[in-house]
C-alpha cells in the first residue's frame, strides 16, 4: 500500500478508526488537538460518534460509560488534561474496562509549556490516579510505530480489559512523516462482550460495572486479580528495540522521540570509534527489565547512559533493571528544551 504523508496526531486518529474505534470523547489542548479535530469528521465516515466534552473529567467518564457499554472508546489529551482524567482512569482500571488514552506530553509542572517533554513518565507507568493499578503503556518513537500500536491497542485493551495509554510528545504529535495504514477493522459488537452493560440483562444475568468494594477482603481480592493481570502483561507484552547493542561498550537508553535523537548519536559515536548501542523500550509498562539484565550481566557492556526529557523518572526504572551491576550515567533536558545529537555525543565521550 502507498505511503501517505500524515501529521502524528491525525495519523493516530486514523489508526484508531482503522483499529475499530467508533467513539471519541475529548477536550481541546495543545499539542494534541489535531487528533480530535480529525476524528470530529472522520468518525462519521464509519458510523461512529464524536463528542467534544465540557471537560477532560467528563471526557474520561464518557469513555467509562461507553467502554462499560461494550464499545471501543478513545480519549486524547496532553499533560494537564491527563491529570484531570486520572480519577476516571483509576475507576476504569478497577472496573476492568478496555479503552485507549493518548497523552501527547507537554512540559510542566502546572500549565508548563507546549514543547516536547517526557515528564509524565511516572504518572503513566506507575498508575497515575489513586490506588494500585497499571496501564499498558506504549512510547512510540515514529509515526508509523504509533499507527501500528494504535491499530492493535483496542485488541490489547479488550484482551486484558485494561486501559491502554499511548505516550507521545508534541514532537510526535506535530511532525509529519510518510506512513502506511493497515486495513479497516470493525468494532466488535458490544453484545459479544460477556461483561458489558448492553441493557438486555436482568435478574441473575444483569451486569454491573463497578469499582466499589466496601468489605476489605473483597477489595483485596479485586486488587489481587488486578495484580495477576499486570504480571501477565510483564510476561507477554514487553516490546523493546535493541539497536547495535551486541558489541557496544556504552549502551544509551531512551524511549519515544528522544530515542530517535539517540540513534543518530549512536551512529555519530561509532564513526568516532566509540562502540555505542541503544536500548529503546517500546512498552514503558511493562518495562523491558530482562533486556537490561542481559546487558548489565554482560562483560562487554561497560556503562549505561540514560537520556530523557524529565529528571530521572525513566532512569529510575533503568536503575532498578541494571541493579547496580554497571554504572548508569544520566543526561536530561527539561521544560520543553530538547537535547541535540551533539549534546548526547559529548555526554557519552565525557563518561567513556
Amino acid at each position: 500500500m502507498a505511503k501517505k504523508l500524515f501529521k502524528g496526531n491525525e495519523a493516530l486518529g486514523e489508526a484508531a478508526v482503522l483499529g475499530g474505534c467508533r467513539f471519541f470523547f475529548g477536550y481541546p489542548i495543545t499539542p494534541q488537538t489535531e487528533l480530535s479535530e480529525y476524528l470530529s469528521w472522520r468518525l462519521y465516515d464509519v458510523g461512529g460518534t464524536f463528542i467534544q466534552s465540557e471537560s477532560e473529567v467528563s471526557a474520561i467518564n464518557m469513555v467509562y460509560g461507553a467502554a462499560g457499554a461494550g464499545a471501543r472508546a478513545l480519549t486524547s489529551s496532553s499533560s494537564p488534561g491527563i491529570s484531570l482524567k486520572q480519577e476516571g482512569i483509576s475507576y476504569i482500571a478497577c472496573a476492568e474496562l478496555p479503552c485507549v488514552i493518548v497523552n501527547m506530553m507537554r512540559s510542566g509542572p502546572g500549565l508548563g509549556g507546549i514543547m516536547p517533554s517526557q515528564a509524565d513518565y511516572s504518572q503513566a507507568t506507575k498508575g497515575g490516579g489513586h490506588g494500585d493499578y497499571r496501564m499498558l503503556v506504549y512510547g512510540p518513537s515514529t509515526i508509523q510505530e504509533a499507527v501500528d500500536i494504535m491499530y492493535n491497542a483496542f485488541d490489547k485493551a479488550e484482551q486484558y480489559r485494561i486501559p491502554v495509554m499511548i505516550l507521545g510528545d508534541g514532537m510526535l504529535g506535530q511532525l509529519m512523516e510518510p506512513v502506511e495504514f493497515p486495513p479497516l477493522k470493525q468494532m466488535p459488537d458490544p453484545s459479544t462482550k460477556e461483561w458489558a452493560t448492553t441493557g438486555t440483562h436482568y435478574g441473575k444475568d444483569r451486569r454491573i460495572v463497578n469499582s466499589l468494594y466496601i468489605v476489605a477482603s473483597e477489595n483485596e481480592a479485586v486488587n489481587i486479580k488486578l495484580q495477576a493481570k499486570y504480571d501477565l502483561l510483564r510476561k507477554n507484552e514487553v516490546m523493546c528495540e535493541e539497536y547495535m547493542c551486541e558489541d557496544a561498550d556504552i549502551i544509551i537508553t531512551a524511549y519515544g522521540t528522544v530515542a530517535r535523537i539517540c540513534k543518530s548519536a549512536v551512529k555519530a559515536l561509532r564513526e568516532k570509534g566509540i562502540k555505542t548501542g541503544l536500548i529503546r523500550p517500546i512498552t514503558l509498562f511493562p518495562f523491558p527489565t530482562e533486556v537490561f539484565h542481559k546487558y548489565a550481566n554482560s562483560d562487554k557492556t561497560k556503562k549505561f547512559v540514560t537520556i530523557e526529557l524529565s529528571t530521572g523518572q525513566y532512569n529510575e526504572d533503568v536503575l532498578l533493571s541494571v541493579m547496580g551491576k554497571k554504572p548508569v550515567e544520566f543526561y536530561c533536558r527539561m521544560g520543553g528544551s530538547v537535547m541535540t545529537v551533539e549534546e548526547i555525543v559529548n555526554k557519552v565521550k565525557e563518561v567513556y
Binding site: S53, E54, S55, V57, S58, Y64, G199, H201, G203
Partner: protein
C-alpha cells in the same frame, strides 16, 4: 387476591437507607414506572456517589457505578453506544448540584436523551450530614454548625430553574416525596420523563425533594413537614420545562 407486588425492576437486596428516608420511595417509583412501561430487559442505570451509591444493587437491570458527579457523562457514553435502550442516572444533590454541576448542565444542553432522577435532600447524607449546595439558609449541618448564611456559605442552588433557562432539556419537574398524593404526582412525573426518553424527545429530569431524618435530626413526620413548610419555599414544586409533543 394479591393487592401489591414488588416491582420486577427491583432486586431482592434489602435497601441500605435509614428509616424514614425517601430514597426507598424514589427507587420504588422508578422501578414501577420502568415495569409499567414494559422496559425490563431494555434498561441501563447509572448509580452515583452518596447515599444511593449502592443503587446498582437495587435496580434489576444492567448498572454502572459512576465517579462522584459524573453520572450524566457516564450515561452519555452509554446512551451513545445504545441509543435504543432506556438510560437513567440517579443522583443526590452533592453529586449533581455541586461536584457534578458541569456534567448535568452540559448533558442538558446537549439534550442527551437520558432521564435523571435528582434527589434533593439538602444535605450530604453518606458522609454524615455536611452542608450541601442545596442546604437552606439557616440550616445547621456539621460543616455549617451555626446555620448556613449567605455571607459565609453562599446561596442554595435551584437546578430545575437553571436547566429550564437553557435550550436542550425536554422535561423538568420538581416534586416532593412527602405523602401519598405527592408520591403519586412524583410517579407521574418520573413516568413522563421516561416516556419522553422513549419517544426520543431528549433530556429529562425529575427533582425529588426528599427527607433525611437522620441528619436533619427530625422524625420522619417532622422531616416531611419540613419539606412542605420550608424547602418548597426555596424549591417550588412544578413543571419547569415541557416540550410536549414537539421534539
Amino acid at each position: 387476591m394479591a393487592t401489591y407486588h414488588k416491582s420486577n425492576m427491583l432486586t431482592d437486596t434489602p435497601l441500605s437507607f435509614c428509616p424514614g428516608c425517601t430514597h426507598g420511595i424514589a427507587h420504588k417509583l422508578i422501578a414501577e414506572v420502568l415495569q409499567e412501561l414494559g422496559q425490563q430487559g431494555n434498561v441501563i442505570g447509572v448509580a452515583p456517589v452518596g447515599c444511593s451509591v449502592f443503587a446498582y444493587k437495587f435496580f434489576n437491570c444492567d448498572m454502572q457505578e459512576a465517579a462522584h458527579g459524573r453520572a450524566p457523562a457516564v450515561a452519555t457514553g452509554i446512551k451513545r453506544v445504545h441509543p435504543d435502550k432506556v438510560v437513567f442516572s440517579y443522583q443526590g444533590d452533592g453529586d449533581l448540584a455541586s461536584i457534578g454541576l458541569a456534567e448535568i448542565m452540559h448533558a442538558g444542553l446537549r439534550g442527551e436523551n437520558i432521564t435523571v432522577v435528582f434527589i434533593n435532600n439538602a444535605i450530604y447524607g453518606m458522609t454524615g450530614g455536611q452542608m450541601a449546595p442545596t442546604s437552606l439558609i439557616g440550616q445547621k449541618t456539621t460543616t455549617s454548625p451555626f446555620g448556613r448564611t449567605v455571607e459565609r456559605q453562599g446561596n442554595p442552588i435551584r437546578m430545575c430553574e437553571m436547566l429550564a433557562s437553557q435550550d436542550g432539556p425536554a422535561y423538568l419537574e420538581r416534586v416532593m416525596l412527602t405523602d401519598y398524593a405527592n408520591v403519586l404526582k412524583a410517579k407521574r412525573a418520573i413516568k413522563k420523563a421516561f416516556e419522553y426518553q422513549i419517544a426520543g424527545k431528549g433530556f429529562s429530569m425529575v427533582e425529588c425533594l426528599s427527607t433525611c431524618p437522620t441528619n436533619w435530626h427530625m422524625t420522619p413526620v417532622q422531616a416531611c413537614q419540613h419539606i412542605k413548610d420550608n424547602m418548597t419555599k426555596i424549591y417550588p414544586l412544578g413543571v419547569f420545562k415541557d416540550v410536549g409533543g414537539a421534539k
